[in-house]
């Protein structure tokens, strides 16, 4: 509200400012729109992941993206629905062969994707929590402790989400919508035991 604000009572202004500016569209709608564009010849089918070089090394940039996504999910509208009671699932985001953004603009675009996805989950009451993990890994157990760099394996867990879902298939469906997959990452879905 930048103009003719004189006739706007503070209460009115406050209420307007509290209104959401975004809402998650139904996931099926995205598929419908992609199909419609493809049918009109406006879109090529998804091909090889990328023409740009793929870097497997862990990169701080990638972690920033995950952090942004998690943060967005946590800090989103405080009036968002509480997580739906029911089974909970952990979605472990593995590094896989995701393409690391090459440019700041590309990186920011990735942030927007994770943010939109996390917000969608929060809106639907499915987002429970999420954290990014640092690179450092220490393995402890019967074998001698080993300090391992996160760059040593593709099984590196970059972060995780905890979501609520109606059943395992539903959780898989949520995971399939995560932008992490579109960038070559992988997701491990595990039910959380109810004890």
């Amino acid at each position: 509200m930048s103009e003719t604000d004189d006739d706007v009572p503070p209460e009115h202004r406050r209420l307007l400012s509290e209104l959401d500016r975004e809402a998650a569209a139904p996931p099926a709608l995205e598929e419908r729109i992609v199909s419609a564009l493809r049918a009109r010849g406006m879109l090529r089918a998804a091909g090889p992941r990328s023409r740009a070089p793929v870097r497997l090394a862990a990169a701080a940039a990638g972690l920033i993206l995950l952090a942004a996504g998690f943060l967005a999910g946590r800090s989103f509208d405080p009036r968002r629905p509480s997580p739906t009671p029911g089974p909970r699932y952990a979605l472990f985001l593995l590094r896989g062969q995701e393409r690391v953004p090459q440019r700041p603009e590309e990186e920011a675009g990735r942030v927007a994707e994770y943010r939109a996805w996390a917000r969608g989950l929060a809106k639907s009451g499915r987002f429970v929590s999420g954290e990014k993990l640092e690179d450092r890994v220490e393995r402890v157990g019967s074998a001698p402790d080993v300090a391992a760099s996160a760059e040593n394996g593709e099984e590196e867990i970059r972060g995780f989400f905890v979501i609520s879902a109606s059943d395992f298939q539903d959780a898989l469906s949520v995971a399939r919508g995560c932008p992490h997959l579109r960038h070559g990452g992988r997701i491990l879905v595990r039910p959380i035991a109810s004890v």
């Binding site: 009115h12 939109a116 579109r182």
Partner: protein, 194 residues
């Protein structure tokens, strides 16, 4: 770098990737970045009718995909997309009811009293629902100005009206909401007394 500059840089990269490749993944990234805002805008424009908002969102992206090569970045990408969405909605509204689509005729529809009101369990008033019940012409101007940040000159260009008409419609829309807020507050007071 300001937030606007950062968003602009992001949008340019997303659009450039999409136009260079016409790749499905590139489109999905663009879609993910802009759809949440577009969808809510359309949902509000269509008075909360989800099926209509979904149809309009699809139409918006079809038109945008076709017109993107001609986009010259004289406005923010979000603003441009919002304009496409608005046009799609107005065309649909005209097809549905030529009379209601006219902002001037909508002035005749403005109710004298407040709409049905509701307060949720926390006392938060349902302004969202009140906005959706505004006559279409008033709703357009209120959404574009108070929620999407358009100027009256921009709204005038989008809606084919004068900036003065835009100002007057906004004022009347706000007045309608204000009456509704007062009525809501009065209703809450009565409940408190009882």
């Amino acid at each position: 770098m300001t937030r606007a500059e950062s968003e602009s840089g992001t949008d340019r990269a997303l659009v450039s990737d999409f136009l260079e490749s016409r790749d499905e993944g590139a489109f999905r990234r663009l879609y993910a970045a802009h759809t949440p805002r577009l969808y809510l805008f359309l949902l509000r424009l269509s008075g909360g009718r989800e099926a209509e908002a979904e149809e309009l969102l699809q139409e918006t992206w079809i038109r945008a995909s076709s017109s993107l090569p001609a986009f010259r970045w004289q406005s923010a990408l979000a603003t441009w997309l919002c304009g496409i969405a608005l046009n799609a909605w107005r065309e649909a509204a005209r097809a549905r009811s030529p009379v209601c689509a006219s902002i001037e005729s909508a002035a005749e529809e403005i109710p004298a009293g407040p709409p049905e009101t509701r307060a949720d369990g926390t006392g938060r008033v349902d302004l969202e629902r009140a906005i959706r019940r505004l006559p279409e012409g008033f709703r357009e101007v209120l959404l574009l100005h108070d929620l999407e940040g358009y100027t009256h000159e921009e709204i005038a260009g989008l809606l084919g009206i004068s900036p003065g008409t835009s100002k007057s419609q906004l004022s009347r829309a706000r007045g309608w909401l204000r009456r509704w807020l007062v009525a809501e507050a009065g209703s809450a007071q009565k409940e408190g007394v009882q």
